[in-house]
């Protein structure tokens, strides 16, 4: 009994150490973030204010929610390109369902639709035992299909007119931020503290070993895609409520933004490594960067150039750190 406790303590200190190491590894990126904030606060007015901080958080909340789902999928060794299309689809779905029913059933229907799409992708991938490559192609196919269905469903025009109070309050003020933080905290909890999360790491790290140790690999493969679909639908609901209208192409390219954020946060694209808090730090970094460049009156085209360079810098530093670690 005592021995068990002792080993638990050792494990705990090991995880604390590991988390510290993770923090150290994150340092370059975190330092970059602090530097950006300090430098820009000299040049831009109204930058270092509570108002602007809330602004940034509101802007990143949608991508943040998407990124949580994406992090689950990527850690499990897959990738999900369909989330942007699910986001557009759920936006149209929530507006029309709020109009015909009321907010609560509409939300449930939309989340269920997201889950169903994720279920289809996950089911196909688990049947064909797909890895990163297959999940890339299958979810790209799903993206094409869902985007087309959204255009057919909406007739290609903006959907609006859902003005029930409960629905509009989802996107008002700080509530997107609350959604973002709650989703992020829950995701981190499930990923780090539960069997569910540990098994996802295991599968992402080595799927054959995971299978041979008796983990129901197919269940987790489907589960991460369902989770990603639900969170994409939730992101769609939050975005639509905030904007008030749903564009049939609202989510175009969001999946790549989410992947970029997760990767900048140090989650390995080949699976098995990284954690949710780091992924969310990636979201914050890209959000702060874009806000800072806006504050410096840099237009959106040069912003894209800078964003690409920052992504490469972040992952290059990460790759070098890993190489150094391996050498030690």
């Amino acid at each position: 009994m005592d021995k068990e406790k002792g080993s638990q303590k050792k494990n705990l200190s090991a995880t604390v150490n590991k988390n510290l190491m993770d923090l150290v590894r994150m340092y370059p990126v975190a330092i970059m973030l602090v530097l950006v904030i300090i430098i820009v606060s000299f040049f831009a007015e109204n930058y270092f204010t509570m108002q602007n901080a809330l602004n940034v958080l509101r802007q990143i909340s949608v991508i943040g929610i998407l990124s949580c789902g994406m992090a689950f999928v990527i850690i499990s060794g897959g990738i999900d390109l369909s989330v942007g299309a699910i986001l557009s689809f759920s936006g149209a779905l929530i507006i029309n369902n709020v109009k015909s029913f009321s907010t609560i059933p509409a939300i449930l229907i939309t989340l269920a639709a997201g889950a169903a799409i994720g279920l289809v992708s996950g089911f196909i991938l688990s049947r064909i035992k797909g890895r990163l490559g297959e999940s890339f192609i299958i979810t790209f196919g799903m993206q094409t299909i869902i985007a087309a269905i959204t255009l057919i469903y909406t007739g290609g025009i903006y959907q609006s007119g859902a003005d029930e109070r409960l629905f509009t309050s989802i996107g008002r003020g700080i509530s997107p931020i609350i959604f973002f933080i709650v989703v992020g905290a829950l995701s981190q909890f499930f990923l780090i503290k539960t069997n569910f999360g540990r098994n996802i790491y295991f599968i992402g790290g080595n799927i054959n070993t995971a299978r041979l140790s008796g983990i129901n690999v197919n269940f987790y493969r489907i589960a991460v895609f369902v989770l990603s679909g639900i969170l994409a639908a939730l992101a769609g609901i939050v975005l639509t409520s905030r904007v008030g209208t749903a564009s049939p192409t609202a989510g175009l390219g969001y999946e790549l933004d989410a992947i970029a954020a997760v990767v900048v946060g140090g989650v390995s694209i080949t699976g098995g490594k990284g954690n949710m808090l780091n992924a969310l730090l990636g979201v914050v970094i890209l959000g702060v960067l874009s806000n800072s460049l806006n504050m410096l009156n840099i237009s959106s085209y040069p912003q894209m150039i800078i964003k690409g360079i920052v992504i490469i810098l972040a992952v290059t530093l990460d790759a070098w750190n890993r190489k150094r670690e391996e050498r030690c």
């Binding site: 297959e134 196919g141 894209m304």
Partner: protein, 319 residues
Amino acid sequence: MLKGKIKNLAKNNIVLIFLFMVIVGMSFANDIFFSFGNFINILTQISIYGVVAYGMTFAIICGEFDLSVSSTFALSSVAFIYFSNIIGILPSILLVLCMGALIGLINGLLVSKVGINAFVVTLATMVSIKGIALFWTDGKPIRNNSEIVYQLGNGKLFGVPYIIILFVLVLIISEFVLRKTTFGRNIYATGGNYDVAKVAGINVVFYKTIVFIILGSLAALQGTVLALRMGSGSSLFGGDLALSVVAAVVIGGTNLTGGKGSAIKTFLGLLLIGVIFNSLTLLNVSAYYQDIIKGSVLIAVVSFDVLSSMTGKRAVERI
């Protein structure tokens, strides 16, 4: 025995059989379909993206992958038109090809030397290059109205447009290089098993880099070709290039895991997609429904391919 042979034959030529079925079916269903004019039409439609697909075949056989081709394509169309107005057509084609090779070199070094995943590298360069193209033109198309540009882009040789000749030429060269040269075999080896290839003395870093350079140059070439054809360059050209091209390569039967595939397979994949879309358009199916069919075909082909290869030994390997 014979049954097994036929089954194997069907399995190995699934794209060809599917293609044959569509062509025969459509020939009965539609008068216009089976004509010289329509086949030239199909080939014209697939040839611009098709050349990039051959480049992508090289990359995928080598176990790599490139999202940034769509941005390189757009930037090249802009750069070509911009420079052709200043220094003339031929120098600007050379300049643009060098630019494409340079972009490929950057991607390739980041993947092979620094060791970042190709998906991440090319996602980032895609964003940056797109930003450059948009910033350069402020998002507007730019034009070159000269007669030579129009002739190069739309001219025909014995009734066959130049762009189809280029498409077939690149197919032949790619197939030759992949099959008959040491260079090609080493690409297969590098993609098939990186570590074994390295131990066998193949300069894997070189091959991982060179496939990106080939791909970047071909994307730049085709951006130029589209600019010649349209007489204009735009930062919005080729938005769906990368993923469409990957889809064509995969539908043709080249595996994303690397080490397998050929340029001919990619050609068949391109042809199948081209014929299906042409048929749907002739049958008056709207573009949205065409997209649904495109996605479904992609999912079906990949699933079928993986499932049919999961027999015997491979089924054990892929748990």
